[in-house]
């Protein structure tokens, strides 16, 4: 064909191959068959139509031949045939030799990597033979692959921080895009701790890795299989947060190699104290164990835990016997205790709100009957229970996060004949300690039995309240004012998270102005020194200042809110009646609860780092955000910061009275040793001490390679079997594997020559049809 083309004048010097194909986009073999069939049918009928020329066979043959030629020409136009000319060249095939140079290959005596290099050197003749048949390429394999001259293998560093087969074989596939790789030889210890490592630990091959593996992959295990002793914690699987007083599960993946024991203790510690432990019963032949430890965190906060295995004599690495993890212990539900002096709409709407909040676990106690009410009905006919004052306030109070005293006068109940000798003073002091020492939240809601009227003046409760009370019993409305009023937001109230109904302070104030009036307020003597007033009475005063209606205070570890009215329910129901919604009421109380329980969003100082884990040598950026008590950024204040390394007694760095700029302080810190670091910071603003916060971060030395020293024989065997390769122990000094040779060709320098797209075909077609017509008519046919 090429010669024929050269005769036609086509320059074929660059081509040694041709092929015929159709340029018609719709072309298919079935369409071609159908067209030929149709052509054959037309010809048959055409032939039959010339029956009258039986006696003139030559003429009949000529007509049929013309018709056939015309049909062929038509088919040529329809099927758009073309010639593709090309140059085919023989391709050379390649073999890749991958030698693992990750840190774990430095283990053993001699080191695994040294064994691998010695093997290559010892089999020099076979290597040369292989190089004669193939392009033989050498690579170092770690988290990636890098090509290496085999003569420099002995000088290559054995320091790759991880072994990632998926990444490595993906990169290898890109190196040989034209499918010239005839196979590969992998010399490794099999500890793939990269993206496919999870599947390896589960005893399988990651499907993504299977796709990337060369065929065949011959594998040699570079590592000792006998005599290795290692107890390793390879992985800790735990949520980053848990719920206080709820069971928390930590799954620890443990690898035990060559450990001569019947059981091995696994211990979970927090700050050096054992939290829980479990013995791992060793099953002969089993290397990996998933051990689940369970415990119930007893405190809210962020903690560092460690899981530890004991060290064994002759262990290759001890670093992998311990692993740390951090965890934030949070509340599962906010436990709220609501104690109400008598049922009222204020109680009812607040209870409904609390009950409907799925994050709140509410325990309510309402005084439905006092000793002054009719007590003649037998208790069997009543659903009432005695108010368990001692049980609540002497035994269970610490299990709550928030206590709401709603129009509750403690005097008839605390320290009475049923209190078993527990005095009122003790119960009141328990409430104070609940706030100050245990960080509980306290709300006192007004009413005719609350604040001064509730007899709280000069009690431990007054010590923690944001307001100062009048002492002595009041009759009539001495410490109350019953006129309706609209609470006015103070400047602090415009920004404070408790009263923030809208993000913009002006819109916030506007929203508060639209809320219905409150009916009546308790009257108090004044404010506690460090209290923050969020809302005031428009006309009444406490001394020289407007009478506080809504005030908050931080006392010790806890927070307290006083609302000196018992009609906040009107912000709900009345507002709905006036065409508004109950969102403001709901948001106000939800804000208040969040603030009272020290929801992280409402902390005055918050410390954090830009990353949870840093590599050794990198700088950690520690940032503190500080707000004044009214939640405006601190403009004049200072901050103390201390950085500790887990396990060290002395701090590694301390900052004293650093200036806070526009509510922020940023510290850059370069750790010098791996481990966990704890940062504590406390701040002072214009109103004094604002609180403290802490955070932790991890500095990694990149020892993922040592978390599991290997070797993993099973994994390497699976890889070889998957690709049709062989598996050998390098210690057996096997021969170099064989790779099949196969001639492969490549088509290049293509040219397309259309056979239909020319005037000749059209002319030929018209001429044939014209000649056929002419001869047919001359023969007396129609």
């Amino acid at each position: 064909m090429l010669k024929f083309l050269s005769l036609l004048g086509v320059d074929i010097a660059d081509y040694n191959h041709w092929e015929l194909f159709s340029q018609a986009g719709w072309y298919s073999a079935s369409a071609a068959f159908f067209a030929l069939f149709v052509g054959a049918v037309i010809l048959w009928f055409g032939y039959r139509s010339t029956d009258r020329l039986k006696k003139r066979p030559l003429r009949r043959l000529l007509i049929v031949a013309l018709r056939s030629a015309a049909i062929i020409a038509a088919l040529v136009v329809i099927f758009e045939p073309a010639l593709r000319l090309g140059k085919v060249s023989k391709m050379s095939s390649s073999i890749a030799v991958l030698i693992d140079n990750s840190q774990s290959m430095a283990l053993g005596k001699p080191a695994r990597y040294v064994r691998a290099v010695e093997y290559i050197a010892d089999h020099n003749a076979e290597v040369r033979e292989l190089a004669a048949k193939f392009n033989l390429d050498f690579y170092l394999l770690g988290s990636q692959i890098s090509r290496i001259d085999p003569h420099t293998l002995t000088k290559a560093p054995v320091n790759a921080e991880s072994t990632d087969y998926l990444e490595a074989f993906s990169a290898l596939a890109l190196e040989y895009p034209t499918d010239t790789l005839k196979g590969a030889l992998l010399i490794s210890d099999g500890v793939d701790n990269g993206a496919a490592g999870e599947a390896r630990r589960e005893g399988r091959i990651d499907p993504a890795l299977i796709e990337k593996l060369p065929h065949p992959l011959h594998v040699m295990l570079a590592g000792e299989t006998a005599g290795v002793i290692d107890a390793a914690i390879t992985e800790v699987i735990a949520d980053s947060y848990g719920f206080v007083r709820n069971t928390f599960k930590v799954t620890v993946r443990v690898d035990l190699k060559g450990v001569e024991a019947t059981s091995v203790p696994l211990v979970l510690k927090r700050g050096g104290s054992v939290v829980t432990s479990r013995d791992i019963a060793i099953i002969p032949g089993q290397q990996s164990y998933d051990v689940t430890l369970e415990f119930k965190p007893d405190r809210v906060g962020r903690f560092i835990f460690s899981v530890e295995l004991p060290g064994f004599a002759g262990e290759s690495i001890r670093e992998n016997n311990r692993k740390m993890f951090s965890m934030e212990v949070i509340r599962d539900k906010i436990r709220v205790l609501q104690v109400v002096g008598h049922p009222s709409w204020d109680e009812r709407f607040l209870r409904r709100l609390l009950k409907q909040d799925p994050n709140i676990d509410l325990i309510s106690f309402f005084i439905l009957r006092t000793r002054y009410d009719d007590n003649t009905i037998p208790k069997e006919e009543l659903s009432l229970i005695p108010f368990p004052d001692v049980e609540i306030f002497d035994e269970k109070l610490h299990t709550f996060d928030l206590l709401i005293l709603q129009n509750f006068d403690y005097r008839p109940y605390f320290g009475n004949s049923r209190s078993g000798g527990v005095t009122a003073g003790r119960l009141l002091d328990n409430i104070r300690r609940f706030v100050v020492e245990f960080g509980g939240g306290l709300v006192m809601i007004g009413g005719d039995e609350s604040f001064s009227e509730g007899g709280y003046a000069r009690t431990p409760i007054e010590e923690v309240l944001p307001v100062k009370l009048f002492a002595g019993q009041s009759f009539g409305s001495g410490y109350q004012d019953l006129t309706p009023f609209k609470m006015q937001l103070t400047d602090a109230g415009k920004n404070h998270p408790v009263t923030r109904l809208a993000f913009n302070p002006e819109q916030n104030e506007k929203k508060w102005k639209t809320l219905p009036e409150l009916y009546g307020t308790n009257i108090v003597r004044g404010l506690a020194p460090d209290a923050v007033v969020l809302g005031t009475h428009p006309t009444l005063r406490a001394g020289a200042d407007p009478l506080p209606v809504l005030a908050v205070r931080e006392v010790g570890e806890g927070r307290v809110l006083s609302l000196l009215a018992d009609s906040s329910w009107r912000w709900d129901f009345l507002n709905v009646g006036e065409g508004g919604s109950n969102r403001e009421y709901i948001n106000f109380w939800r804000n208040a609860i969040r603030w009272l329980i020290r929801n992280p969003e409402t902390k005055l100082i918050e410390v954090g780092t830009d990353r949870p884990v840093y590599h050794l040598g990198a700088k950690a950026t520690i940032r503190a955000e500080v707000s004044e008590r009214d939640y405006r950024p601190v403009t004049e204040g200072s901050l103390d910061m201390t950085i500790y390394r887990e396990g060290d007694d002395a701090p590694v760095e301390r900052v004293i009275e650093a200036k806070i700029v526009e509510g922020s302080y940023i510290k850059e810190f370069k750790p010098t040793a791996p481990g966990y670091y704890r940062v504590t910071a406390s701040a002072k603003g214009q109103t004094g001490f604002l609180g403290s916060d802490e955070t932790i971060f991890e500095v990694s030395a990149g020892t993922v390679e040592f978390s599991e020293p290997g070797p993993d024989v099973g994994y390497l065997k699976r890889l070889a079997a998957e690709t049709g390769g062989t598996f050998n122990f390098i210690t057996d000094n096997p021969d170099m594997p064989d790779f099949e040779t196969e001639d492969r060709y490549r088509l290049a320098a293509k040219m397309t020559l259309p056979l239909w797209d020319n005037w000749f075909i059209l002319f030929f077609l018209v001429t044939l049809l014209g000649a056929e017509w002419f001869i047919r008519r001359r023969s007396g046919l129609r």
Partner: protein, 271 residues
């Protein structure tokens, strides 16, 4: 001043009891006065103004006369006497379409006869009131099913909450345990032993009785009960007052008595 009015109202109520049997009445009155004094003296002010008191709002029914005005004072008196609730002895009258109903989260509706339907605006306001926290207690004083008030009230509920079905209370409903432990709905008569109503998010904003509970409470100006109670007589009347207390406690505490802390006690007493 308000306190004085309240006390006067109570003294008047006590003093108006049956003059025909003077001694028991006087003794009763003295006992009540004494109990008021005991209760009032150490507690000072009884509430944070009138607005903090439980005030029963009576829903005006178009074209109908409120026929149980004489039941309110005895009912409130019993609530105050038996519970820690602070209540206003005087009812207020509200209209369904008026936004002032939102001042009173508990409204009472009674009637014997059919009543004309509420208009759309009234229904809309009432629907909003009930949905957002209000409670309507309706008492059929005629105590006849499928006739008169019953017919109109069901029609009204159908228009108020077309998507919700009218349900019957079960024995463990908070209406039967919010203060007293009760087994049935006691009234002037007993047509049904259960309440009917509408439930929204676990709360019953509409509670409907066909037993004329308010009839069992009603007294004339001399303190005599206006209607005899059958079939249970005075014990049934006592139970009707207990139900009245439970109704108010339910309005104020909803499902409080279903909190876990109460359940063992209630189950034990129910045995």
């Amino acid at each position: 001043m308000q306190q004085l009015e309240k006390t006067r109202a109570r003294i008047k109520l006590a003093g108006e009891r049956r003059p025909a049997i003077a001694w028991p009445a006087i003794a009763g009155a003295l006992a009540i006065i004494a109990s008021f004094l005991m209760w009032a003296a150490p507690q000072g002010a009884r509430a944070f103004g009138d607005e903090a008191l439980l005030t029963v709002a009576v829903l005006k029914v178009p074209g109908a006369v409120f026929n149980r005005e004489q039941a309110i004072a005895p009912w409130i008196y019993e609530i105050e006497r038996r519970t820690s609730i602070k209540a206003n002895p005087k009812p207020v009258f509200v209209e369904a379409g008026d936004k002032t109903i939102f001042n009173y989260p508990f409204i009472l509706m009674t009637g014997a006869d059919e009543f004309p339907p509420f208009n759309d605006k009234e229904l809309q306001n009432l629907r909003r009131y009930l949905k957002y926290g209000g409670l309507l207690f309706a008492d059929n004083t005629q105590a006849i099913k499928d006739y008169g008030f019953d017919k109109s009230f069901r029609r009204m509920l159908g228009r108020l909450f077309p998507d919700l079905e009218i349900k019957a209370t079960t024995g463990d409903h908070s209406l039967f345990r919010s203060f007293y432990l009760l087994d049935y709905v006691p009234g002037r008569v007993i047509v049904d032993s259960f309440f009917e109503g509408i439930e929204i998010d676990g709360r019953w904003p509409v509670v409907y009785s066909k037993n004329d509970i308010t009839g069992a409470w009603a007294r004339d100006s001399y303190g005599s009960y206006l209607y005899s109670v059958s079939p249970g007589g005075e014990r049934q009347r006592e139970m009707a007052f207990r139900q009245g207390v439970n109704l108010v406690l339910y309005a104020l505490t909803i499902d409080y008595k279903k909190d876990a802390v109460h359940i063992p006690h209630i189950l034990k007493r129910r045995k």
